[in-house]
């Protein structure tokens, strides 16, 4: 493993590529905050780069230094994926950042060249991530086969002001538009509720409970619900939830489960959600056990979610489309009046194994997208 790579140009400027150590983290974070005008704390940065998903001394954060100054960063976050019963290691591309004066050194591609040359022994099958800079990724062999799609439901009249600039809000027209949309969504949602009430009169079949991720049963229930799930997705195991939920220094999701009313220990589905500082609620993960009354359970979970986030003060609910055909989740969202938007983040992908099974073409159909794949400020 090469720990350092040096490039010198004709003006004797030295570009050094190396793995970041603990001492670099503060400068990496400063660069990130300056570049993106954010206020990420050092604890939050540490959480992103240091996890226990795989046992390694390295934190897979590469930096480019130009005459001693950090001018570029690129990180990989190891993530275990599951395909049927098979588990394999993948890496999420994070912290892609190159500042202007380092462009001419082709820093981004050199950073990835350095990373790829150093991670062979870890047997990552593919690298994936979300980025607005797809051209740069395309140039170094990544494909950009997909763009996430979204579902939105407005629940308060100030919602549109979040999605559209308020400065042109003459006569408060955004509020009027919000109210019209809310009315439309309310009609659809009420119709769905009415249909379920007619189909299941006076029978309470679903019980909703909060189960915290620190509780022992949490993982058992999640595994039980996802047991027959054939989607390709992050392995939802103890290490992942510990890192992603319990130790999250940004904020933690609210986790509710649906149970069979008569057998209160039989989990039927779950929904994880939260609300960000801008009062936008977000569904982070959603799953329903197969061969159950899926639409009814989905409806109950989304009803509870709506009630809870409304009381929290949310103006809208947002989530990604799961990308799975005939997805129950998608149907539930539609029936609850969520609006589909063909707009989201660009997804980039690169198979770095020699195994063709991990080509995007072979994965795309069952590749599940949820906000659980997102890091940083999670909602």
């Amino acid at each position: 493993m090469i720990n350092k790579k040096k490039y010198i140009d004709i003006k004797d400027n030295t570009l050094i590529l190396r793995w970041a150590n603990d001492r670099d983290l503060e400068n990496v974070n400063k660069l990130y905050n300056k570049y993106y005008k954010k206020n990420r704390t050092i604890n939050q940065a540490k959480w992103i780069f240091i996890n226990k998903i795989i046992k390694s001394k390295n934190n897979f954060l590469a930096i480019a230094e130009l005459n001693g100054e950090i001018v570029g960063t690129q990180a990989l976050i190891p993530m275990i994926f599951r395909l049927g019963k098979e588990k394999f290691l993948t890496a999420k591309s994070e912290e892609t950042l190159v500042i202007g004066k380092a462009y001419k050194y082709n820093t981004f591609s050199k950073l990835y060249e350095f990373i790829l040359g150093n991670i062979e022994r870890y047997d990552f099958k593919f690298i994936w991530g979300f980025t607005p800079k797809i051209k740069s990724f395309n140039r170094i062999g990544f494909s950009s086969p997909y763009q996430t799609k979204s579902w939105i439901k407005l629940i308060r009249s100030d919602a549109m002001q979040y999605y559209l600039p308020e400065k042109n809000n003459y006569l408060n027209y955004l509020s009027v538009i919000s109210k019209i949309i809310i009315f439309y969504q309310l009609v659809i949602s009420s119709l769905t509720n009415l249909i379920y009430k007619v189909r299941f009169p006076r029978t309470k079949i679903i019980l909703i409970k909060d189960i915290k991720f620190s509780e022992e049963l949490f993982l058992k229930y999640v595994n039980n619900i996802n047991r027959n799930n054939q989607n390709i997705f992050i392995e939802r195991n103890k290490d992942f939830f510990n890192w992603r939920f319990a130790e999250n220094p940004f904020c933690k999701p609210i986790t509710i489960f649906a149970f069979d009313y008569s057998k209160s220990k039989l989990p039927l589905g779950y929904i994880f959600f939260g609300m960000n500082e801008d009062r936008r609620a977000c569904i982070i993960d959603f799953s329903i056990k197969e061969n159950t009354n899926e639409h009814k359970i989905g409806n109950a979970l989304i009803n509870e979610l709506e009630k809870r986030v409304f009381d929290m003060g949310a103006h809208s609910i947002y989530t990604w489309d799961p990308n799975i055909n005939n997805s129950i989740f998608r149907n539930c969202l539609r029936r609850k009046g969520f609006i589909f938007l063909d707009k989201g983040s660009d997804f980039v992908f690169k198979n770095i194994s020699n195994d063709k099974r991990f080509d995007w073409e072979n994965l795309s159909e069952n590749f599940l997208f949820t906000r659980l794949m997102n890091l940083g400020s999670i909602f």
Partner: protein, 463 residues
Amino acid sequence: MESKIKIFILLIKNLKILSKFQFNDKGFSIFSKIKFIHINDQNNISSKLKSAILIPLNPIKSKNQEKNSWEANIDGVDIILWDKILKPNKWYSFPSNENPLFYFHPKRNLILPSWDIISSFQLFIKGENNKNKDKLGRIISNKIEYHNLKLDKQPHLNNANFIFLKATLLINKFSEPVNKFISPIKLIISHDIDLLRANDFLSQSIRIYRLFKSLIKLNFRDVRKYFSGFIRAIFFPYRNYGNSIFGMIDIERQYDYKSSFYFLFGKRGRYGPRSSERETLNFARAIPEGWSIGLHYNFDSFKNDKSLRNQLIVLRRNLKKKVLSGRAHYFIFDLHKDAKLLNDCGIKIDESLAWNDSLGFRFGIAGPLIHQNQNINTLFVPTIFMDQLFWHSDNQVEFNLEYEHLKKVGGIASFLIHNDIFFNEEQPLFIGKYQKLLRKLYEDDLICCLPEDIYNISKPFLS
């Protein structure tokens, strides 16, 4: 003299308990080894005394020093002190002669505070005469001299502990800065549940009154606000009121925080609760496990012995839970007159001590305060940051200064957020602020405690 010794004992007891919340394990271990000894004045120090902090009961001062304050810096923390005492001969000042924090004798390892700490402590805990009170019997902050002199902008006792720890480190030749021994702030969040529904007669009457007032003033924005508020209250009475309890709980869940809910019970009336007992109990029963329930003592609680007892009986009997903490409605509470009744009723933590009209550390402490009467075991944790005050745009700078100072010296920060303020379209200024507040506190690593936790940690010190 005897009364000064009593004050000395009370002061030291308070400092010791406070140190448990203020310092980390290492800091607490160093602090707990400190010997505090009272002396009469700084010119009569026995030659036998060694390795101790000396507290003069009748210190010698220059004339008219009581109200003169000065500022000094230790390891990046600015500390405000007042009521300077004279430096004994052949002693040294730290950090400077002009603005000293303490005097010390390096050979005998003796430390002497540079200010009259006994008088300063008395300043905060002494009773007040009725001239300084409003019609509800609460002390008006701007009629109090120490508030006007801004001596309550920093928690005096927390500062004193910080200075004494620094002095001890210096004398014992520790090279580390004092902030290495400070623990993250302990956080207490509580919610006064004054109103559960928006459509009671009084609330609706107020809306109609304001609606007409804004019509006369042709303020159509307010007309819309009060009209829609009136209609909304009819169809959704719990929205923005009772239901906000669960909204706040869910926001707290996102940061792993817990809080206390103080429910208002007892006789209904202008200053009493506007919701029925049954309704209040239904909401109290729905509070999930892990969150604490306490009593928001009704307006008339301290007028006779029975009222408070009855409110507690209703709550305890119906919830089948221990109710150990509370806060007085409108902060109507007199530490000297009403504390005994609280103690007799089994209230272990009270959060009634606060300015109702201003920010500031009213009792000079950000942590638990012990009562002067040794028979009273109730601990008083002053409410420091109340929603309407610290979220008000005029108080932003002051809030930041006080909060940032507390972060540096350590202690307990208690926040009060009302359920009808948390998210209320009729008070749009506060919308979304609770989430932002908790995010900030979470990023600052504040450790959330319930009143019961504070009591259990303090209990060994009380005996």
